[in-house]
Symmetry: C2
Subunit: 651 residues, 2 copies
Amino acid sequence: MQSDTLCHPDVPSARSIATVSIATVSISGTLAEKLRAIHAAGFRCVEIFENDLLYYDGTPGDVRRIADDLDLKIVLYQPFRDFEGVGAERLARNVERIKRKFDVMHALGTDRLLVCSSVLPDTVCDDGLIVEQLGVLAEQAQAAGVTACYEALAWGRHVNSYRHAWRLVRAVDHPNLTLALDSFHTLSIDDPLDEIETIPGERIGFVQIADAPRMNMDVLEWSRHYRCFPGQGDFALAEFTSRILRAGYRGPLSLEVFNDGFRGAPPAATAADGYRSLLLLEEQTRALTAGVAGNEELPLFAPPAAPARLTTQFLEFAVDAASRTRLVGWLEKLGFRRAGQHRSKDVTLYQHGAAAIVLNAEPDSFASSFFQQHGLSLCAAAFRLDDADLALERAARFGYVPFTGRVGPDERVVPAVRSPDGSLNYLVNERSGQPTLFEADFVLTDVDGPSEVGPLIDIDHVCLALPMGSLDSWTLFLKAVFGLQASSSVVVPDPYGLVRSRAFCNRDRSLRLVLNASVDRHTAVAEAVQAYHGTGLNHVAFGANDIFRAVAQFEQAGLPLLRIPRNYYEDLAARYALPESLLSRLRAHHLLYDRDENGGEFLHAYTETLDKRFFLEIVERRGGYDGYGAPNAAVRLAAQTRRRREDAAMS
Amino acid sequence: MQSDTLCHPDVPSARSIATVSIATVSISGTLAEKLRAIHAAGFRCVEIFENDLLYYDGTPGDVRRIADDLDLKIVLYQPFRDFEGVGAERLARNVERIKRKFDVMHALGTDRLLVCSSVLPDTVCDDGLIVEQLGVLAEQAQAAGVTACYEALAWGRHVNSYRHAWRLVRAVDHPNLTLALDSFHTLSIDDPLDEIETIPGERIGFVQIADAPRMNMDVLEWSRHYRCFPGQGDFALAEFTSRILRAGYRGPLSLEVFNDGFRGAPPAATAADGYRSLLLLEEQTRALTAGVAGNEELPLFAPPAAPARLTTQFLEFAVDAASRTRLVGWLEKLGFRRAGQHRSKDVTLYQHGAAAIVLNAEPDSFASSFFQQHGLSLCAAAFRLDDADLALERAARFGYVPFTGRVGPDERVVPAVRSPDGSLNYLVNERSGQPTLFEADFVLTDVDGPSEVGPLIDIDHVCLALPMGSLDSWTLFLKAVFGLQASSSVVVPDPYGLVRSRAFCNRDRSLRLVLNASVDRHTAVAEAVQAYHGTGLNHVAFGANDIFRAVAQFEQAGLPLLRIPRNYYEDLAARYALPESLLSRLRAHHLLYDRDENGGEFLHAYTETLDKRFFLEIVERRGGYDGYGAPNAAVRLAAQTRRRREDAAMS
């Protein structure tokens, strides 16, 4: 509802005091581009991944100078593979090999080398021999003035657990051989975490951090392609990290992420998300280390807490006169009524139950520029919470951009933060005894509030259609700024490709959001994103207490519902023992149906698409149903595709 | 070298006489689109995948009418899940559920239902109970006048092998319950194939065929996302299929392919490849069933054999005057000399050793239209073989488009077949005692042949940059038309994403080809494809006997070599115990080095890119090295990226 100035204030430092780092392999680009992006994101430490150096057309000394100029400390060079568990001749060659790497490290100005447990099929699986050879490694490292950090790869031939690696390192008992821990290698194989705290902190030489979605696949492939930043996957990283800190480790926490998507994405944005992800991890870790003796002083990132209470106050659409007319027509058919007019701007408020929609047609405003770029679109959402200033500070400390708009006389200044797609999230204080935002900024048509009760109760959820590859960035945004919980993502087939979908909500389910990103170029979601030029509302779902009553009323008013194939109901009848009376009512109103394991039920209907670009949904949740009708998503996508085809054939 | 007319002759029927079929899930689109594409590809049988029906906005009777109109027989409805191994109450519900599906089948006009082994965690793992319940199923099927085909899913809770499923089906011993076989479920778990031939053919009710690349991952995920058509993956499908035919099965061979790429690709092209893939499978299967008693009469696809002998005669570039000048400049630096001028066209021949390059600037020709679309590009390749007519017939019977160009007086008519990207493959008969193609069509400048021996010996391989998602289609083309063997694909990192690469060769390695397709949008390969508007030569590699001599000569002549970072050589020194003298020579000439397990060596150098779009490679193979220096591909991609950046910064 605000406008004009995108403000770039002096963002309070998002800097964590713990040492955060990132491996160059985690982002795309040439080595110089990577280092610049890593610096710009806020990192002051970096791991050099060997291949990045090999591909770099300059000496290791050149790399050191670039890093120095960027105030980046090279904290690790990696990886060195297959040193131990070999015959005498091979050991001699490995010593020659590692000496050359020590030379590279000297030129780079780093003194830590990551040594991975051997994966050679002919590794000699003899702990005694390995201890002896790691001893040779440690002596060589000492002679070169560096430290070797020994890491158990989850797919190591003989050593694949940090516990085994630690037994070996402890047996070698040499100051130049330490243990390296990597969250992926430990959490991917469900290795027990208990022993971490038994390791003296100073014997842990380095800690690498990666998250990953839970996947049922070969751990090497999983590691090489699907790692992601903390908070984007499913691993219990705070559990892992807090134990390491409790053990007394005080060195870098360093992201090492192999991710196919990140390899193809712009490095600056990826590095910025990486930095945020470590802040989020620190915050979560702090909660677990608080109160532990010796850990009070831990300098972990401590932003204001995520808002405890969070509800949607309104959704704001960027419109012009023509699209407003169309949208208002639909809202009126849904029983919304005009509830107010903004005091100074061409902004109108519509309400139905607790659902409020704001239509912004103000010229020369944020909304109008959003409209110019994206057409009729969701340009903002407003959230009611207890302390907007703290929420804004939290967002800013995570490095998200605050926004302050133009404000008329006597109008409320509402802080806002930008979503990854540039839309706004207003943070609204509502305190009892004070005028509401609507009262402050709007001339309300009905000051006593709605007198009749309509069939809709609230906004159940919003579903956004995103460009490919942006799910991870949104996940981090929603977790960091709003403290939302993420479900695991699911893949839904569309007639022309696949759509990846992930749901988010807060603890009391008063805020729900679904993000859809297409894997292919021709799905309904991809076409919506293209139509919106890179951003796109997909749909808004309104909650109803009695969906049959609601839908009957809306159809009566002329709201066009998306036609669901009769075959769907035949299958429904076969899947569930639904009474024929219910089945026929579902069929008559084009309602979809889902049931969860506990008997909770979900009934929902979709409208046709408005303006070929977005649509509405009406939902009823029964018996604690907590999902979004995922089994029906493919039915909806197919029905929408059919309609697009019909429209295309007619035009 | 030919021109003008793209000819669509009356292609000899590619129809196999065996019954080939495809499941609707294998291709993209709405159900009606799928059926039309399946018909157009040549199929006369189809499986209806249940979800396609559920999403279809018409009755099963409507689907039957569409299929009838297209002369498509619906040979199966699938899948029915989790019938058996349940309690009494659930069984009763399952009987009600399956009766509804029988009604759907009647309306569809099909009498086969695929029933998958149960995946429910609480499946009762009791063969006696399952036999009893499958007996109930069989009786219900009999009452409905249909047959249930029971299939073991590789991830079935209790039944996951065809051998177990067959024991159960045999125990039920009912004509309305047969066994369904699926190549994926059997080959993915390396289930022994021996028992297939012990099953009476008439007890096998249906056979589904899918190939897949070998992957180390959860079999369910592998099945749902990575299946592909026969010949595109790594499975021994002819072994599987020949055993089924030897068992006496004479029903459909039906493709059932879940592939993320196919879900997003145009349905007509995918269905056409599916049809071809079954022809190829039939041909391969025929070789394994020949001579087996009772199988001589098997009506399997029998095209002319793939060419036994196959060498590249020349590569033809579409050029205009300016790009010809540039390319000729490079060829001359590589020691090529002008060897002939076409008798009637603006076409020039350059030769060096056995490597021949044709530059086609003829106006109003195939080459000129190729040039208009793609710029300087590889528009054709000519292959010497024993019987060009048979090779052309083979290609045509696989449904690939033959091409006949405009021919001048006394010039040779050279048959050709189009590649998936529209470029031509000339098929050249060279018989002793007859004039060569060059003698027939060109005024040769040196009729006695080359007098001096240059450092190049031949064209070692060609590497093509392909659009995303076209690797599978090319794989099938190269296997079907030329009988090439495919290596497994590898993934190579580029600074801005990943590139998937697959190598092809014939048995005697006289023809080698590498295909690269980018997974992301900003890699060097992707940019090359964009520059070429959807097709693109990546590079041509020339073979040398003494690469040091060759490269020294070329550098002396001013050929610009791609600069390789010195760090690469530091690492090479660490990886291999190379003598410093060799290392320094490699480094001096920007040569890359690889070594195989048997000590075979590969030395290679790249030129800078010509016209920002393609480049050349010089290679030397030592000691039977059979690869392409895959470990060095990332070094090359990074070096090229650096050069693009430098060029961009300068312009």
